[in-house]
Amino acid sequence: MNNVFVYCEIEKTIVEEVSLELLTKGRKLADQLGVELEAICAGTDIKGKVESQVLPYGVDKLHIFDAEGLFPYTSKPHTSILVNLFKQEKPQICLMGATVIGRDLGPRVSSCLKSGLTADCTALKIGEYDDTKSGKHYDQLLYQIRPAFGGNIVATIVNPDHRPQMATVRSGVMKAETKDPNYKGEVIIQDVAKFVPETDFVVKVLDRHVEKAKNNLKGASIIVSGGYGVGSREDFNLLYEFAQEIHAEVGGSRAAADAGFCDCDLQIGQTGVTVRPKVYIACGISGAIQHVAGMKESGIVISINTDPDAPINQLADYVIVGSVQEVLPKLIKYYKKNSK
């Protein structure tokens, strides 16, 4: 009762990185609240394969739902698992990845339980809340913090009266850290038929192609990232050229992805990838909050921008005032000259 739950996403038998990140965060929240951390794994042939991936993150109870039809994911069976388990266990918090699966499942579960859900949180904290209207005081609520309104504001959301307090978090926002490789948690093999009616298995996955990510933005130590100021898809090639010289990965802002200057999977920010490189080189990026949310933990930030007052310059260690088209060729030229 009243515990913190994390829904773990599973690709075949491998627990996704984002779920491990959330288990780490979930463990911290549970410690703060003085409750247990519970995890849910649902899939096909996962028994005996997921326990060792999940328990070391400090999971006190692992609920395994193993049956035909639970992989690949479809909405209804996984919804029934969570809804019926939550009716029984009454968690106070439920976290899931802000992935395609989490953003399909979370709203459906929250609608059924009539509990609140906050999407794409960039921070989660425990804190108190005073409802000015009702005059009620709440001691330990989950602060669900996220940029909103196109990134112009950062909102702190609470769910005072409804449980569970649900939040989704993007991959890479939290850090995965195991608690103890030999952490002793209880494993509960649940009877899927008791949770999922046969009529839930109606949507059929006919065909499925999953590829490994084409880029390595999450693990990159240097990132050259382009924004709307790059100007065109052709000029984005300058970023690739520079990145190749200095052994960096190339990323982009949402504005650049929306304008078609770069592919969507290169998008860094709240609704894209969160990165923590040693060096972040922002080319023609103004620095909207959603973008900053995805790169603010970078070590050294270098900004190339025609606008000396661009918001991104506030967090830059080095600012070059000039256009991407003018500055990048010079950076390439002088890097070649000085590094050899």
Partner: protein, 291 residues
């Protein structure tokens, strides 16, 4: 086979084109400074709906939106592109709704429309980016959902086959009707307005948009052409429970809103001159930032 299709559309502030005056000095959003637009991904959904209508003669497409009277603009935009009719869900009691209260209101309106086979909307709206309303409406109606739709491959024998985006790839799923689809921006863009339809519907209005003092221009046209009056529903019209609408029906509360101001770091500024760029490269190499 003909189908009854409803497109969910939202009028949103254009958060992609935020100017310097978008925030008030008090740190709240200055909605007046942001143009109101048709949520981009809802346009992608509209295109898919119109194609299904063309491929399945006898099908109808309705557009449903919740918002203030001026949100009728998205209904007109739909009419200009070929939808059959529109419904404006408007009531002060809907104000302050989070995604759950919004999906409740929309689901009640869809029940009122009745007999819908396919409900479509954009994956998410650009003012909130939550992607929650679609799946929540599907749950409230107890129907199947397919999110992140890229393309509709076929519709026959009461089943729809859809290519959808998943993390790191694509999948093809088959779902029985009725179904709710949410459509991505990477799906085909929406067709432009049709000139004839624009002429036909340019005076279409919801009753709340019309002047109430008898000064309605072309008043006789609204009597002759009933399609110029857009259907407008209140909470009571859709048999809504006030406790589940608007602020009262929203489990999430905004505790605080903050206008984030970045803390300025000590930064070194360079010009784009050759000398400056070379000096910077030399410094970065010397302190092992790069290389």
């Amino acid at each position: 086979m003909s189908y009854k299709i409803v497109v969910l559309a939202k009028q949103v502030p254009d958060t992609r084109n935020v100017g310097k005056d978008a925030m008030t000095p008090e740190g709240t959003v200055n909605r007046a400074a942001l143009p109101a637009i048709f949520n981009p991904e809802d346009l992608n959904a509209l295109e898919q709906a119109l194609r299904l209508k063309e491929q399945n003669p006898g099908s109808t497409v309705s557009i449903l939106t919740m918002g203030p009277p001026r949100a009728t603009e998205v209904i007109r935009e739909g009419l200009y592109r070929g939808v059959d009719n529109g419904y404006l869900l408007t009531d002060r009691a809907f104000a302050g709704a989070d995604t759950l209260a919004t999906s409740y209101a929309l689901s009640m309106a869809i029940r009122k429309i009745g007999g819908c086979d396919i409900i479509m909307g954009g994956r998410q709206a650009i003012d909130g980016d939550t992607a929650q309303v679609g799946p929540q409406v599907a749950e409230k109606l107890g129907i199947n959902q397919v999110t992140y739709t890229e393309e509709i491959l076929s519709l026959k024998d009461g089943k729809i086959t859809v290519k959808r985006h998943i993390d790191g790839g694509v999948e093809t799923v088959e779902a029985p009707l009725p179904v709710l689809l949410t459509v991505n921006s990477t799906a085909d863009p929406c067709r432009p307005r049709n000139a004839k339809l624009l002429m036909k519907y340019k005076r279409a209005m919801a009753p709340m948009e019309m002047p109430q003092d008898g000064t309605l221009p072309y008043a006789e046209q609204y009597k002759k052409k009933p399609y110029l009056t857009v259907t407008q529903w209140s909470v009571a019209d859709v048999d809504g429970d006030l406790q589940q609408c608007g602020l009262a029906g929203s489990p999430t509360k905004v505790k605080a809103v903050q206008n984030i101001v970045f803390k300025a770091k000590e930064s070194k500024t360079f010009t784009a001159s050759d000398g400056d760029v070379e000096a910077l490269i030399q410094e970065l190499l010397a302190n092992h930032t790069i290389g």
